[in-house]
């Protein structure tokens, strides 16, 4: 929270996160994410396997998109501000898709000297279809 980029006081209900537009998804990123996360499900690597599984081809780890959403939050609010992040994976992210992460402040509360901001967050593809929807709670500093 010490390196927060926004003050609790300056956040209002309805405040929107600056959209985070990620680079088009490439197979190499899914391979890197598999190695980094330890999730080697071939459904994210092997197109034949993914087709045989009835998924119509390779798609990205949901956790990669969740990582993008977390980045959108910390890019805006600063490192170590995220207290809670919960999402549902609502659509598949395919190779070449461009994922954009967005969010909007739903509420503010203060308790035990913690100033918390609740947001709705989501990620969408280049067609505006939501692939991740969820909620986040951030702890932000108050002005002296």
């Amino acid at each position: 929270m010490k390196y927060a980029k926004v003050y609790f006081d300056d956040v209002e209900i309805g405040t929107e996160l600056p959209p985070l537009v990620k680079a088009p998804i490439q197979q190499i990123q899914l391979t890197r994410y598999a190695g980094a996360s330890g999730d080697f499900n071939p459904i994210h690597q092997d197109d034949e396997f993914a087709r045989a599984a009835g998924m119509g081809g390779v798609f990205a780890h949901g956790m990669l998109s969740m990582g993008f959403v977390a980045q959108a939050l910390t890019d805006w609010a600063g490192p170590s501000t995220v207290r809670k992040l919960g999402v549902r994976f609502t659509g598949l992210v395919r190779l070449k898709d461009v994922v954009t992460c967005r969010g909007r402040v739903l509420g503010k509360s203060s308790k035990d000297e913690l100033n918390l901001v609740d947001l709705e967050v989501w990620a969408e593809n280049q067609r505006g279809e939501k692939v991740v929807t969820g909620r986040a709670t951030l702890a932000l500093p108050a002005k002296e």
Partner: protein, 151 residues
């Protein structure tokens, strides 16, 4: 033939396992996401910070895996092939920053199993909670993950 999930897995607690947070793993994870935040990647920025080191991105605890307590073990217990599962939901509660060199204990429990019919047919939902605690038994993070099995 439709798949079935072994519902007796409900309530199962997996053997606790320990993980030690590696500096390189934090950076590899941040780079794989394309999140080039210097607080994750730059040792000098980390050392000068109030945490004294780089910290892990919010979703990093998903890397805390073990042979005995991770998804492969769960799928074996459920009697389900990996080609039938999807990640349905994921939640993190983060109680404090995570820095390299720390050793944590992870405890996984299956807290719910239910079935529903979706657009693509019947599905089972398996909900796990993973509690991550430090050496003083303080909670560091809690993960809740929903695995969807296409039946």
């Amino acid at each position: 033939m439709p798949a079935h999930v072994n519902k007796t897995v409900l309530g199962k607690e997996y053997p606790p396992y320990t993980v030690t947070v590696e500096r390189g793993k934090i950076k590899e994870f941040a780079r794989a996401i394309g999140d080039l935040n210097p607080f994750y990647l730059d040792d000098s920025v980390g050392q000068a910070s109030c945490w004294g080191d780089v910290i892990a991105p919010p979703t990093f605890p998903v890397t805390f895996r073990s042979e005995s307590g991770d998804s492969a073990a769960l799928l074996r217990d459920l009697g389900v092939d990996i080609s039938r599962v999807l990640h349905g939901e994921q939640e993190f509660e983060i109680h404090r920053p995570i820095v390299p060199g720390e050793t944590f204990v992870c405890r996984t429990r299956v807290v719910d199993i239910y079935e529903k019919s979706g657009r693509t047919g019947p599905m089972a939902f398996v909900v796990r909670e993973i509690a991550v605690t430090d050496r003083t038994n303080e909670i560091v993070a809690t993960m809740r993950q929903v695995t969807v099995v296409r039946l």
